[in-house]
Structure formats: structure tokens, C-alpha cells
């Protein structure tokens, strides 16, 4: 199935979860995750199943005012 991770297209196995997508992207800690605009807690990364067309956001700390 095809999904988007940080606006980039990725092809994932049908049974993939968020943790598989993080590995495919090469996410570097520290990060937090939202799937289709909804927060996914760290404890749920391994169990949260992905679906075709999903949009995953992986965010990291940046400077802010």
C-alpha cells in the first residue's frame, strides 16, 4: 500500500504499523507522531495499523517563539 510520510510517498507492506513506517522513513529520536492529523502515542506505534492513503507526520524539536 502507498502512504505519505512527511509528505513523501512510501510503499509499505499491507500489514504495516506505525513502527514500520518510522523505520522506513529512518526517523531519528526524539520525535512524535500523528497519523492523519491525530496523535499516536509512543506506546501505540507498534500496534497502530496503517491503511492505504494514510498520512503520517513525524515531528522533532525546533526553535520556536
Amino acid at each position: 500500500m502507498n502512504i505519505h510520510i512527511n509528505q513523501q510517498p512510501f510503499s509499505m507492506p499491507d500489514a504495516a504499523t506505525v513502527i514500520d513506517a518510522l523505520a522506513a522513513f529512518g526517523a531519528k529520536p526524539p520525535f512524535a507522531v500523528a497519523l492523519n492529523g491525530q496523535f499516536v502515542a509512543r506506546a501505540e506505534h507498534a500496534s497502530k495499523a496503517l491503511n492505504a492513503g494514510d498520512k503520517l507526520d513525524i515531528v522533532s524539536p525546533v526553535a520556536g517563539g
Binding site: 522513513f25 509512543r42 515531528v59 524539536p61 525546533v62 520556536g64 517563539g65
Partner: protein, 270 residues
Amino acid sequence: MTSTITTADTLTLYGTSFPSRVLLGTSRYPSLQSLSDSIDAARPGMVTVALRRQSNTGEAGFFDVLKRHGVALLPNTAGCQTVDEVLTTAHMARELFDTPWLKLELIGDDYTLQPDPIGLVEAAEKLIREGFKVLPYCTEDLVIGRRLLDVGCEALMPWGAPIGTGKGVTNPYGLRTLRERLPDVPLIVDAGLGVPSHACQVMEWGFDGVLLNTAVSQATFPPQMARAFALGVEAGRMAYLAGPMAERDSAQASTPVVGMPFWHQDGSAA
């Protein structure tokens, strides 16, 4: 009897005391070293941070610098334009930074970056219910301020002027009215201050702190400006506690006139 002011005057938010009344933004410094030196110079009670999509061109080392300073972090929801965006960003920030503190930003207008007052109350209510310690970036509108307090906010962060303008307080009457009508609520002036005298002024008016970013990071020498702001805030706070004199319209000699040796002697012959 002593006439000195107690030194135990600290900024207290949600029952937590902070060592400084300056909150410092971390954005737009010329370098990480400049940011680090500015934190050393201002010794802020908290520094603001944000979240953005991870990329290979990210700000390497930024978070490490903040961790080395050990200063309390205040994640923001900058750029959010809906309540749902705020909630998702807040949850990601809480997990990533391991803190319940949140600078709630919900922008209602792209040009002025004015907060959306309606969505702000809704977002604050939901966040408070979920255990966040919310510091809402708001305008000087008294009624919106009250609504934010009604839903559980224990402090407000009214703007002085639009973000990044450096204009100083554009509506002194409105801001001072907010202070007068909410005398027991911690009020931190956030955004729009440009020079230390702006910060000193709001502290003289009785505000509890200031949040700065652009005024420091875009100065020619940010660490020096950070220190200048810290001194301005300290001076303003001390002046507020000292109780400024009442302003008057007519002159009043400060030197005693009784006993003046040549008092109008020549004038009597005129």
C-alpha cells in the same frame, strides 16, 4: 523596621515558581552559540520550543543545547489555525518534551497573527481538562481573558503588539485595564516588545513577566540584548513593588523653599 523589598518575589504559574520573569523564545538567532549565550545572559524562567516535520536539514544540535542549559521548556502550538491542530500538536509536544506546559497559540489572522479568541477558549478548555498547564497567547480583550480563566487557565499571555513587530505596547489603555481588572491573575506580556524599556514599562504597570524572542534574536548582539531585557524586567518589577509616585499636572519643587536665604529680596523692589 526595614524599608527594603522582599527578595522572595518570584513568578508563580500553576503553583510552580520560576527563577526569572523573563521567558525567552529560541527562534531566529544567528547561531546556536548565540542562542546559548543569550540564555546564559537572560537566565529565563522558561524557553519556548516548537515542533516541525523531521527532515535531514533539521536543526541539528538545537535540542541538545537546550538540554545542556537545563532550563524549563515551554512548547508552543505556533502556526495552528484550528482547535484540532492545536490538540494534536499539544499531545505530540507533551510526549516529546515530557512536559505538561504549553504556550497555546491559535492564529486567527495570517497577516496580523492575531489569536483566534473564540477557538482559543475552546482549545484551552479541552487542554486544561487533559491536564495541560496552558499559557494562552491572547489579545488584551478583558472578556476573552475572563473566559479563558473560566475554563481553567491560571495565567494569560496578552500581546503587546503583533508578533515580531517590536512596536512596544500599542494599546496601553487596554493592556492596563486588563491588569487592573484581573489583579490576581499572572499576566505575561507576549509578543511585540522591541527594546528593554518596553519590557520595563509593562513591568512597572504590574505585569508579571514578559516573553521575548525577535527583540533579542534579531538584535545586532543578541546576548547583550538578552541581558539588557533581563535588567529592564528586573528594574520594572522593582519599581512596581516600590510603588511609583502619583503623576501630577503642576510642578512642585523638590527642594524645600523654607529658609531660602535670598528669597525674592530683589524682586520686592520691582
